[in-house]
Symmetry: C2
Subunit: 206 residues, 2 copies
Amino acid sequence: MTDTPDATPDRRPGGRTARVRAQVLDAVRAELAEHGHEGLTMEGVATRAGVHRATVYRRWRDVGGLLVDVIDAAGEIDWQPPDTGSLRGDLTALNQEIQQSLVERPSFAVALMAASFHSAPAARAQTRLWTDRYAQCEVLVERAVERGELPAGRPTDARSLLIAATAPLYHELVLLRAERDPRLPERAARAAVLAAAAGAFSDAGS
Amino acid sequence: MTDTPDATPDRRPGGRTARVRAQVLDAVRAELAEHGHEGLTMEGVATRAGVHRATVYRRWRDVGGLLVDVIDAAGEIDWQPPDTGSLRGDLTALNQEIQQSLVERPSFAVALMAASFHSAPAARAQTRLWTDRYAQCEVLVERAVERGELPAGRPTDARSLLIAATAPLYHELVLLRAERDPRLPERAARAAVLAAAAGAFSDAGS
């Protein structure tokens, strides 16, 4: 491996530039999951990716740049919220997906959260990604209102409902480091739906 | 400052050993809050505390030892859960306390969470502390059952209720880095109480 910069990169989608990015981001994910944020280095990523070090420095500048791009890439995935036919089913499926990402070892999701405590650009990228995902999930609440599962006359704050449904997963598995509880995704979903039905996320609720 | 070890320490409560511990732990809290986990060093703590470096090394061994002791010290405080006369009031007061600890800048609580991603002993100490605090708060649920605020025939899982009430605070303020919302403590408390009243945390709930 040399430090000679690449020749003019091919920027067509699916071209050489895209392939290099895919290789580098795969390497970032693997290094993060195996060694955590503290073990992430430009050199380690370049070696693992089989890409010139100079290319990695020129394009991503530093470890913070790699973290931001790996989070942005997660946001580019064509992710779709679940559609099971009921709000409780949808939130349970969402929670199962979240639980899986948090309990797998090594967990890329947990490594990213840890990293975002130490990198302001990574924290901002993560906030953007989460904001987008919760916005995408608001359709679950809209569909529930259309199906008559939620009080129609008192608009439900979709984001608050989604946070209430998903927060216990992050709290138990990331912050409290509890053992995986296979019933938690369904229980947290059920609690949020019962609260919503009682008007907890409507301004007029009491 | 020299590296000469202390003479035989005075181990009476309130004696020299206790004073040195208090000075060192105050310094750990201040350094953590100001510089974060990555800026915490044995030397920085010793200098700030005005204590011999050798004493700090002998008694706490490394930065992980300092973190564990500062978390254990938080557990030794005579903390009492709120008692406002209603479950919703108690959970709101608890959430206000949590919110305050998370939004103050610098936040010692957030610095400790960040540190626990990088130190297994600190993570274990933090899990112990949180487990104790949630156990202490179970009395809020017992009192609510006695007051007839919760279904008596279907025992409520106190821990699940407490997690549901408090998790949105941590999720919004620590992981999503949302702006402080002065209504959140009360709203999260209200949602958990409505869910509990509907049987969300009872095994027989549906």
